[in-house]
Protein backbone atom coordinates (compact mmCIF):
# COMPACT_ATOMS: atom_id res chain seq x y z
CA UNK A 1 0.00 0.00 0.00
CA UNK A 2 2.74 2.33 0.90
CA UNK A 3 3.84 2.17 -2.70
CA UNK A 4 0.88 4.27 -3.75
CA UNK A 5 1.07 6.94 -1.13
CA UNK A 6 2.64 10.13 -2.30
CA UNK A 7 6.07 10.77 -1.10
CA UNK A 8 5.70 14.51 -0.96
CA UNK A 9 3.60 16.30 1.48
CA UNK A 10 0.59 18.06 0.02
CA UNK A 11 2.39 21.39 -0.42
CA UNK A 12 1.30 23.46 -3.43
CA UNK A 13 3.89 23.45 -6.19
CA UNK A 14 5.08 27.01 -6.96
CA UNK A 15 3.70 28.53 -10.11
CA UNK A 16 6.42 28.87 -12.65
CA UNK A 17 7.03 32.49 -13.53
CA UNK A 18 9.57 31.72 -16.18
CA UNK A 19 7.16 32.53 -18.96
CA UNK A 20 6.22 35.92 -17.56
CA UNK A 21 8.95 37.80 -19.46
CA UNK A 22 7.74 36.19 -22.66
CA UNK A 23 4.26 37.45 -21.95
CA UNK A 24 5.60 40.94 -21.32
CA UNK A 25 7.64 40.84 -24.50
CA UNK A 26 4.62 39.69 -26.44
CA UNK A 27 2.68 42.63 -25.10
CA UNK A 28 5.52 44.96 -26.00
CA UNK A 29 5.72 43.65 -29.55
CA UNK A 30 1.96 43.71 -29.95
CA UNK A 31 1.82 47.39 -29.09
CA UNK A 32 4.89 48.16 -31.17
CA UNK A 33 3.27 46.62 -34.21
CA UNK A 34 -0.18 48.03 -33.64
CA UNK A 35 0.78 51.63 -32.91
CA UNK A 36 1.00 53.66 -36.07
CA UNK A 37 2.26 57.17 -35.89
CA UNK A 38 -0.39 58.24 -38.29
CA UNK A 39 0.69 60.70 -40.85
CA UNK A 40 -0.74 61.83 -44.10
CA UNK A 41 -0.27 59.45 -46.95
CA UNK A 42 2.11 61.26 -49.24
CA UNK A 43 0.96 61.63 -52.81
CA UNK A 44 3.75 63.96 -53.86
CA UNK A 45 7.51 63.76 -53.92
CA UNK A 46 8.76 65.40 -50.81
CA UNK A 47 12.45 66.01 -50.56
CA UNK A 48 12.69 68.95 -48.23
CA UNK A 49 15.32 71.66 -48.59
CA UNK A 50 18.02 72.04 -45.97
CA UNK A 51 18.27 74.76 -43.38
CA UNK A 52 19.84 75.16 -39.97
CA UNK A 53 18.27 78.30 -38.53
CA UNK A 54 15.13 76.47 -37.52
CA UNK A 55 12.38 76.44 -34.94
CA UNK A 56 10.34 73.55 -33.76
CA UNK A 57 6.82 73.07 -34.93
CA UNK A 58 3.95 72.73 -32.50
CA UNK A 59 2.11 69.85 -34.03
CA UNK A 60 -1.20 70.23 -32.24
CA UNK A 61 -1.90 73.56 -33.87
CA UNK A 62 -0.65 73.04 -37.36
CA UNK A 63 -2.14 72.26 -40.71
CA UNK A 64 0.04 70.66 -43.34
CA UNK A 65 0.25 71.59 -46.96
CA UNK A 66 2.37 69.41 -49.20
CA UNK A 67 3.50 70.39 -52.64
CA UNK A 68 5.66 68.82 -55.26
CA UNK A 69 5.58 66.58 -58.26
CA UNK A 70 3.26 63.58 -57.96
CA UNK A 71 5.00 60.47 -56.64
CA UNK A 72 6.32 58.09 -59.26
CA UNK A 73 3.39 55.72 -58.92
CA UNK A 74 0.90 58.52 -59.63
CA UNK A 75 2.76 60.06 -62.55
CA UNK A 76 0.75 58.08 -65.11
CA UNK A 77 -2.49 59.29 -63.66
CA UNK A 78 -1.74 62.87 -62.74
CA UNK A 79 1.23 63.85 -64.89
CA UNK A 80 4.44 65.37 -63.65
CA UNK A 81 3.36 68.93 -63.01
CA UNK A 82 3.76 69.99 -59.36
CA UNK A 83 0.61 69.56 -57.32
CA UNK A 84 -0.66 70.58 -53.91
CA UNK A 85 -1.81 68.05 -51.36
CA UNK A 86 -3.84 68.78 -48.26
CA UNK A 87 -4.95 65.91 -46.09
CA UNK A 88 -5.04 62.78 -48.16
CA UNK A 89 -5.87 64.20 -51.54
CA UNK A 90 -4.68 66.55 -54.24
CA UNK A 91 -6.06 70.02 -54.11
CA UNK A 92 -6.29 72.64 -56.77
CA UNK A 93 -4.96 76.12 -56.03
CA UNK A 94 -8.48 77.53 -56.26
CA UNK A 95 -9.74 74.96 -53.80
CA UNK A 96 -7.11 75.58 -51.13
CA UNK A 97 -9.32 77.79 -49.02
CA UNK A 98 -12.00 75.19 -48.65
CA UNK A 99 -9.54 72.40 -47.94
CA UNK A 100 -7.71 74.48 -45.36
CA UNK A 101 -10.84 75.51 -43.54
CA UNK A 102 -11.78 71.88 -43.40
CA UNK A 103 -8.36 70.91 -42.06
CA UNK A 104 -8.52 73.66 -39.48
CA UNK A 105 -11.78 72.38 -38.11
CA UNK A 106 -10.10 69.12 -37.21
CA UNK A 107 -7.91 70.89 -34.65
CA UNK A 108 -8.89 71.50 -31.05
CA UNK A 109 -11.34 74.40 -30.88
CA UNK A 110 -9.18 76.47 -28.53
CA UNK A 111 -6.19 76.17 -30.83
CA UNK A 112 -7.96 77.06 -34.05
CA UNK A 113 -7.08 80.73 -33.78
CA UNK A 114 -3.43 80.00 -33.27
CA UNK A 115 -3.21 77.81 -36.29
CA UNK A 116 0.12 77.55 -38.01
CA UNK A 117 0.45 76.37 -41.55
CA UNK A 118 3.33 74.00 -42.15
CA UNK A 119 4.53 74.02 -45.72
CA UNK A 120 6.22 70.84 -46.80
CA UNK A 121 7.35 71.66 -50.26
CA UNK A 122 9.67 69.66 -52.45
CA UNK A 123 12.95 71.42 -53.13
CA UNK A 124 12.51 71.22 -56.88
CA UNK A 125 9.20 73.08 -56.88
CA UNK A 126 9.09 76.62 -58.22
CA UNK A 127 8.81 79.50 -55.84
CA UNK A 128 5.86 80.73 -57.85
CA UNK A 129 3.69 77.95 -56.52
CA UNK A 130 4.67 78.75 -52.94
CA UNK A 131 3.82 82.37 -53.57
CA UNK A 132 0.38 81.39 -54.84
CA UNK A 133 -0.21 79.36 -51.70
CA UNK A 134 0.92 82.26 -49.55
CA UNK A 135 -1.48 84.61 -51.31
CA UNK A 136 -4.33 82.23 -50.56
CA UNK A 137 -3.24 82.05 -46.93
CA UNK A 138 -3.25 85.81 -46.68
CA UNK A 139 -6.78 85.83 -48.04
CA UNK A 140 -7.74 83.34 -45.36
CA UNK A 141 -5.96 85.34 -42.69
CA UNK A 142 -3.82 82.39 -41.68
CA UNK A 143 -0.65 84.34 -41.39
CA UNK A 144 1.63 82.12 -39.41
CA UNK A 145 3.54 79.80 -41.64
CA UNK A 146 6.54 77.59 -41.24
CA UNK A 147 8.65 76.18 -44.03
CA UNK A 148 9.53 72.67 -42.95
CA UNK A 149 13.12 71.80 -43.70
CA UNK A 150 15.62 69.08 -42.98
CA UNK A 151 18.71 69.74 -40.91
CA UNK A 152 21.76 70.70 -42.90
CA UNK A 153 23.02 73.56 -44.92
CA UNK A 154 23.03 74.23 -48.64
CA UNK A 155 26.49 75.71 -48.61
CA UNK A 156 28.56 72.96 -47.07
CA UNK A 157 26.31 70.16 -48.32
Amino acid sequence: MSKFTKKKSNELPPVSTASLPDIVFMLLFFFMVVTVLRDDNLLVQNKLPKADQVEKLKKDRSVYIYAGKPSSRYVDKYGSEPKIQIGDKYTDITNIKFALTEARQKLLPELQDKVMVALKVDEKTNTGMVTDIKQELRDLNMLKIIYITTPGNEINQ
Binding site: S16, T17, A18, L20, P21, I23, V24, F25, L28, L37, P49, K50, A51, D52, Q53, V54, E55, K56, L57, K59, M116, A118, L119, K120, V121, D122, E123, K124, T125, N126, T127, G128, V130, T131, K134, L137, R138, D139, N141, L143, K144, I145, I146, Y147, I148, T149, P151, N153, E154, I155
Partner: protein, 208 residues
Protein backbone atom coordinates in the same frame (compact mmCIF):
# COMPACT_ATOMS: atom_id res chain seq x y z
CA UNK B 1 24.52 6.69 -10.54
CA UNK B 2 21.52 8.92 -10.78
CA UNK B 3 22.09 12.37 -12.15
CA UNK B 4 21.85 15.07 -9.63
CA UNK B 5 19.02 17.48 -10.40
CA UNK B 6 20.36 20.83 -11.57
CA UNK B 7 19.04 23.66 -9.42
CA UNK B 8 16.48 25.75 -11.31
CA UNK B 9 17.47 29.33 -12.13
CA UNK B 10 15.05 31.74 -10.63
CA UNK B 11 13.44 33.43 -13.60
CA UNK B 12 10.98 35.50 -11.64
CA UNK B 13 12.95 38.68 -12.05
CA UNK B 14 13.08 38.38 -15.84
CA UNK B 15 9.74 40.11 -16.06
CA UNK B 16 11.09 43.02 -14.08
CA UNK B 17 14.07 43.26 -16.39
CA UNK B 18 11.76 43.27 -19.40
CA UNK B 19 9.65 46.00 -17.82
CA UNK B 20 12.73 48.04 -17.07
CA UNK B 21 13.78 47.78 -20.70
CA UNK B 22 10.31 48.71 -21.87
CA UNK B 23 10.18 51.75 -19.64
CA UNK B 24 13.68 52.81 -20.57
CA UNK B 25 12.82 52.82 -24.26
CA UNK B 26 9.50 54.50 -23.64
CA UNK B 27 11.26 57.36 -21.88
CA UNK B 28 14.20 57.77 -24.21
CA UNK B 29 12.47 57.60 -27.58
CA UNK B 30 11.37 60.96 -28.80
CA UNK B 31 9.23 61.11 -31.86
CA UNK B 32 11.04 63.34 -34.26
CA UNK B 33 9.43 66.69 -34.63
CA UNK B 34 9.31 68.74 -37.77
CA UNK B 35 11.50 71.77 -37.78
CA UNK B 36 11.54 74.72 -40.07
CA UNK B 37 11.80 78.42 -40.65
CA UNK B 38 8.81 80.25 -39.21
CA UNK B 39 7.42 83.33 -40.87
CA UNK B 40 4.61 85.75 -40.37
CA UNK B 41 2.83 86.81 -43.52
CA UNK B 42 1.75 90.39 -43.91
CA UNK B 43 -2.00 90.79 -43.51
CA UNK B 44 -3.96 91.50 -46.63
CA UNK B 45 -4.89 95.11 -46.71
CA UNK B 46 -4.39 97.91 -49.11
CA UNK B 47 -1.50 100.04 -48.11
CA UNK B 48 -2.50 103.58 -48.93
CA UNK B 49 0.69 105.27 -48.03
CA UNK B 50 3.67 102.98 -48.33
CA UNK B 51 6.49 104.04 -46.04
CA UNK B 52 9.38 105.61 -47.84
CA UNK B 53 12.61 103.74 -47.40
CA UNK B 54 15.84 105.36 -48.35
CA UNK B 55 17.86 103.59 -50.97
CA UNK B 56 20.78 103.15 -48.61
CA UNK B 57 18.61 101.43 -46.02
CA UNK B 58 17.52 98.82 -48.49
CA UNK B 59 19.43 95.63 -49.13
CA UNK B 60 18.10 94.09 -52.28
CA UNK B 61 18.59 90.39 -52.89
CA UNK B 62 17.50 89.26 -56.30
CA UNK B 63 17.24 85.61 -57.25
CA UNK B 64 16.73 84.78 -60.87
CA UNK B 65 15.23 81.74 -62.56
CA UNK B 66 18.63 80.04 -62.76
CA UNK B 67 19.10 80.37 -58.99
CA UNK B 68 21.73 83.06 -59.32
CA UNK B 69 22.02 85.76 -56.71
CA UNK B 70 22.22 89.45 -57.41
CA UNK B 71 22.89 91.35 -54.21
CA UNK B 72 23.00 95.11 -54.35
CA UNK B 73 23.49 94.97 -58.13
CA UNK B 74 26.42 92.61 -57.81
CA UNK B 75 26.57 88.92 -58.58
CA UNK B 76 27.22 86.95 -55.40
CA UNK B 77 27.75 83.39 -54.27
CA UNK B 78 25.37 82.01 -51.66
CA UNK B 79 28.16 81.49 -49.16
CA UNK B 80 28.97 85.21 -49.10
CA UNK B 81 25.38 86.29 -48.53
CA UNK B 82 25.40 85.87 -44.76
CA UNK B 83 28.45 88.07 -44.27
CA UNK B 84 27.11 90.66 -46.69
CA UNK B 85 23.82 90.83 -44.77
CA UNK B 86 25.64 91.11 -41.44
CA UNK B 87 27.80 93.93 -42.78
CA UNK B 88 24.72 95.74 -44.03
CA UNK B 89 22.66 95.35 -40.84
CA UNK B 90 25.50 96.13 -38.49
CA UNK B 91 26.68 99.13 -40.45
CA UNK B 92 25.20 101.92 -38.30
CA UNK B 93 25.91 104.68 -40.78
CA UNK B 94 24.00 107.47 -39.04
CA UNK B 95 26.43 110.11 -37.74
CA UNK B 96 27.10 110.05 -34.01
CA UNK B 97 24.94 112.57 -32.17
CA UNK B 98 21.96 112.18 -34.48
CA UNK B 99 18.84 110.49 -33.05
CA UNK B 100 19.34 107.58 -35.40
CA UNK B 101 22.82 106.88 -34.16
CA UNK B 102 23.38 103.22 -33.35
CA UNK B 103 25.63 102.88 -30.36
CA UNK B 104 25.89 99.11 -30.36
CA UNK B 105 26.73 98.62 -34.00
CA UNK B 106 30.21 97.41 -34.72
CA UNK B 107 30.12 97.85 -38.47
CA UNK B 108 32.01 100.08 -40.82
CA UNK B 109 29.86 103.19 -40.23
CA UNK B 110 29.67 103.70 -43.94
CA UNK B 111 27.32 106.62 -44.61
CA UNK B 112 26.40 105.03 -47.94
CA UNK B 113 24.94 101.97 -46.23
CA UNK B 114 22.18 101.46 -43.62
CA UNK B 115 21.60 104.07 -40.89
CA UNK B 116 20.84 101.63 -38.10
CA UNK B 117 19.43 98.10 -37.75
CA UNK B 118 15.97 99.44 -37.09
CA UNK B 119 15.89 101.22 -40.42
CA UNK B 120 17.61 98.51 -42.41
CA UNK B 121 15.32 96.43 -44.55
CA UNK B 122 16.29 93.38 -46.53
CA UNK B 123 14.19 92.88 -49.59
CA UNK B 124 14.13 89.57 -51.39
CA UNK B 125 12.90 89.40 -54.91
CA UNK B 126 12.35 86.02 -56.46
CA UNK B 127 11.50 84.90 -59.90
CA UNK B 128 8.52 82.59 -60.16
CA UNK B 129 10.81 79.93 -61.55
CA UNK B 130 13.37 80.13 -58.76
CA UNK B 131 13.68 76.73 -57.13
CA UNK B 132 12.27 76.32 -53.66
CA UNK B 133 15.60 74.93 -52.54
CA UNK B 134 17.32 78.20 -53.39
CA UNK B 135 14.54 80.23 -51.86
CA UNK B 136 14.91 78.43 -48.54
CA UNK B 137 18.70 78.63 -48.71
CA UNK B 138 18.50 82.41 -49.13
CA UNK B 139 15.97 82.78 -46.31
CA UNK B 140 18.14 80.59 -44.12
CA UNK B 141 21.23 82.72 -44.71
CA UNK B 142 19.35 85.92 -43.94
CA UNK B 143 17.88 84.53 -40.73
CA UNK B 144 21.36 83.32 -39.85
CA UNK B 145 22.67 86.87 -40.23
CA UNK B 146 20.03 88.18 -37.83
CA UNK B 147 20.67 85.35 -35.38
CA UNK B 148 24.39 86.03 -35.44
CA UNK B 149 23.87 89.67 -34.52
CA UNK B 150 21.26 88.90 -31.89
CA UNK B 151 23.54 86.33 -30.33
CA UNK B 152 26.31 88.88 -30.20
CA UNK B 153 24.14 91.47 -28.48
CA UNK B 154 22.61 89.08 -25.97
CA UNK B 155 26.09 87.83 -25.15
CA UNK B 156 27.16 91.40 -24.50
CA UNK B 157 24.11 92.40 -22.47
CA UNK B 158 23.20 89.26 -20.56
CA UNK B 159 25.98 86.76 -21.13
CA UNK B 160 23.99 84.13 -22.98
CA UNK B 161 23.16 83.39 -26.57
CA UNK B 162 19.83 84.52 -27.95
CA UNK B 163 19.25 81.45 -30.09
CA UNK B 164 20.06 79.03 -27.27
CA UNK B 165 17.74 80.71 -24.80
CA UNK B 166 14.93 80.90 -27.33
CA UNK B 167 15.34 77.20 -27.91
CA UNK B 168 15.33 76.47 -24.18
CA UNK B 169 12.17 78.50 -23.76
CA UNK B 170 10.39 76.73 -26.59
CA UNK B 171 11.38 73.32 -25.31
CA UNK B 172 10.10 74.12 -21.84
CA UNK B 173 13.48 73.91 -20.18
CA UNK B 174 12.96 77.17 -18.35
CA UNK B 175 11.05 76.57 -15.14
CA UNK B 176 8.92 79.00 -13.21
CA UNK B 177 6.53 81.63 -14.53
CA UNK B 178 8.54 84.58 -13.23
CA UNK B 179 11.78 83.40 -14.82
CA UNK B 180 9.97 82.75 -18.06
CA UNK B 181 8.50 86.21 -18.16
CA UNK B 182 11.78 87.87 -17.31
CA UNK B 183 13.50 85.91 -20.03
CA UNK B 184 10.77 86.74 -22.52
CA UNK B 185 11.34 90.40 -21.81
CA UNK B 186 15.07 90.13 -22.26
CA UNK B 187 14.60 88.27 -25.51
CA UNK B 188 12.31 91.00 -26.74
CA UNK B 189 14.92 93.60 -25.81
CA UNK B 190 17.45 91.82 -27.97
CA UNK B 191 14.93 91.47 -30.77
CA UNK B 192 14.35 95.18 -30.64
CA UNK B 193 18.02 95.85 -31.21
CA UNK B 194 17.94 93.85 -34.42
CA UNK B 195 14.33 93.61 -35.58
CA UNK B 196 13.75 91.13 -38.35
CA UNK B 197 12.83 93.26 -41.32
CA UNK B 198 12.62 90.98 -44.26
CA UNK B 199 10.41 92.05 -47.05
CA UNK B 200 9.39 89.89 -49.93
CA UNK B 201 8.45 91.47 -53.17
CA UNK B 202 5.84 89.93 -55.39
CA UNK B 203 7.78 87.58 -57.63
CA UNK B 204 8.27 88.60 -61.18
CA UNK B 205 7.03 86.48 -63.97
CA UNK B 206 9.88 85.08 -65.91
CA UNK B 207 11.03 87.21 -68.77
CA UNK B 208 9.61 90.44 -67.49
Amino acid sequence: MARRATPEVNAGSMADIAFLLLIFFLVTTTIEKDKGIARQLPPKEDIVDPPKIKEKNLFIVNVNRNDQLLVEEKLMELKDLRQAAITFLDNGGAPSGSPEYCNYCKGRRNPESSDNPDKAVISVQNDRLTSYKMYIAVQNELVAAYNFLRDRESQRLYGWKFTEKTKDLNEGKIKGEATKEALQKQLEEVQKLFPLKLSEAEPKKSGQ
